[in-house]
């Protein structure tokens, strides 16, 4: 029995199942939480989940494959516009999300083979350029997108709390998908391919990983997730304009978040977005004039002191903490 257990523990499936169980517990908490929250806390939590999803999209490329898709916000914007246009044309939320997400995924697959030959900063800048080009199209094709005047969606039926719960449940579902993507990228065969690319692309290629295909597919998955988040955002806020949904600071924030939480981990993005959002929220309510300063200094301190993210920090110090706890009891 013990031997069996040991074998089970060392099998690759055990890790996945453990993470899946943890994810389910987390999702269960998210599902039962709303009645205890005021609409403000619910909105904050929705916002945390949205950022966690975007950060997971970033993590999928930058954390797991090692390609910093800095301009990933382009998919957020495309998703937002696609879904908003579909909803104005009378589609329901779910089909509209799909209509928003598919072009984003297609774009990732189309330009992936070109841009994914670039590495490091160069890839980052190429994605940034992609975002600028698409956002300029959204801002200038005013007959189609409304241009700079933006797109306004009709209010959904029901009260403010109905709308809040709808948005929340949408993002919880998307968050679940983002965790599934994380587990997939960490534990699947495909994920091994990703990590091999991150570690050493030439070696991966030599050992038979179809690197360009793996990278392109990973980017497409990242695009799908990010675009779906954009679509839900459009529904949630009810008004989008190019400068808002193609805003590079969304990408930068997502980048900070997944790094802070732990790159290439399943829960890193969530931890990062929780940390950053709580920091900004606390700063907002009390230090009106200084909150950017505080946030900026916090980020600098985190980089200096927690080089491998919050999860890495905990992992590094966990044995010591456990020993200390054991010693106490």
């Amino acid at each position: 029995m013990a031997a069996l257990l040991a074998r089970w523990r060392s099998s690759p499936w055990a890790g996945s199942l453990r993470t899946a169980a943890l994810s389910c517990a987390l999702l269960a908490i998210l599902v039962v939480l709303p009645p205890f929250l005021s609409l403000y806390w619910l909105r904050l939590l929705t916002s945390v989940l949205m950022l966690a999803v975007i950060a997971q999209g970033m993590n999928a490329m930058a954390g797991f494959v090692g390609y910093p898709a800095f301009g990933n916000v382009v998919f957020f914007g495309m998703g937002a516009y696609g879904a908003a246009l579909a909803m104005t044309a009378g589609f329901g939320v779910a089909p509209a999300l799909l209509i928003g997400a598919v072009p984003a995924a297609v774009l990732a697959l189309a330009v992936g083979p070109l841009l994914l030959r670039l590495r490091g900063h160069y890839f980052a800048i190429a994605t940034l350029g992609l975002n600028e080009v698409v956002s300029a199209l959204a801002a200038n094709l005013s007959g189609f997108t409304g241009g700079a005047a933006g797109l306004s969606l009709p209010l959904g039926a029901g009260t403010a709390s109905d709308a809040a719960y709808r948005a929340y449940s949408g993002f919880v579902a998307l968050f679940a998908a983002s965790l599934a993507l994380g587990i997939f990228l960490r534990d699947s065969r495909f994920g091994y391919g990703c990590r091999a690319i991150r570690a050493n692309e030439e070696a991966a290629e030599a050992t038979g990983v179809a690197t360009l295909r793996v990278k392109s597919i990973a980017w497409m998955l990242s695009a799908l997730l990010t675009a779906a988040a954009g679509g839900l955002y459009a529904r949630w806020v009810g008004f989008i304009e190019p400068s808002q949904v193609f805003d590079m600071s969304i990408s930068v924030k997502a980048f900070v978040m997944f790094l802070l939480g732990g790159a290439g981990t399943v829960f890193g993005p969530l931890i990062g977005s929780l940390l950053i959002e709580s920091a900004t929220t606390l700063a907002w309510s009390h230090l009106l004039k200084f909150h950017l300063l505080i946030l900026g200094v916090t980020i600098m301190l985190v980089v200096l002191m927690l080089p491998d993210g919050a999860q890495g920090f905990v992992a590094r110090h966990w044995p010591a903490v456990r020993a200390w706890l054991r010693h106490r009891s």
């Binding site: 930058a62 910093p68 070109l114 841009l115 030959r117 670039l118 590495r119 490091g120 900063h121 160069y122 800048i125 190429a126 940034l128 350029g129 992609l130 600028e132 080009v133 300029a136 199209l137 801002a139 200038n140 930068v252 980048f255 900070v256 790094l259 790159a263 004039k289 200084f290 909150h291 950017l292 300063l293 946030l295 900026g296 200094v297 916090t298 980020i299 600098m300 985190v302 980089v303 200096l304 080089p307």
Partner: protein, 293 residues
Amino acid sequence: MQLVAQIVLNGVLLGGFYACMALGFSIVWGVMNVVNLAYGSMIMIGAYVTQMAVLQLGLPFAAALPLAALATFTMGYVLQRALLNRLAERSVFMTLIFTFGLNMALINLNLILFSADVRSLPDVFGRASFTIAGLSVPYGRATIFAVAMAMTLGLHALLNWTPLGNAIKATSFDPDAARLSGIDVPHVYALTFAIGGAIAGVTGALVATSYSFSPVAGESYTMKAFVVVVLGGLGSIPGAIIGGMLLGIVENLASLFLDSGYRDAVGFTLLLLVLVLRPRGLMGRRFFAEVKG
């Protein structure tokens, strides 16, 4: 035709400014692989120092400009020495995020110190223009172009004909070998960042007279620097000039022939093309950039 020639000339003048601005960004990135997202904020600080020197100390602009350069030089040295050097061994993304945080902090500090008002120095170079071959050249833009070119040549001389320049290049090529041959690497890094800072300061002084500035206005300069550096090639001085001019001319022609709303999009399309066709930039040299990926 006259119109096209005039627009191209304006593009060249603008490109000179872009080139000068991008140099500071380029050298820091090329030598230390640090993408300094706070670069635009350093330009803003240069602009504020210039404005204070002119309006409060009553200095002429020609004296305010070196003062701005000195301020951002010092700032750059201290930043690299005290903070960024600690991140030298870390992944490039960590420094990226660090400078992102630094940028936020600087924007907030500038807001507290100077308020969000949009400022500009009135009429340092006058409003007149002179004419060459039927094309008009405003004195203001011409002066900026001249300063930019002088800076570029100065930096070229510094890197190629001085011991410090050799030390910087050697460190950029291989920090470990440089260390072994007795170069004080942290000091060289700090000086490099300081030189980048000084260029930001000069750019800031130029921005103060011919554009306008406010705490949040720095980001558009960082973006432009990004594009110029990638177009021209990382760490390459001729590259910065060619990248800057190319961007200036292409942007202006886009404004002339297409809807002006597409101006930035055309610049970025060019960037994508260069990246796909010639990833190291038009003039990029291997040793500055690609070794570090």
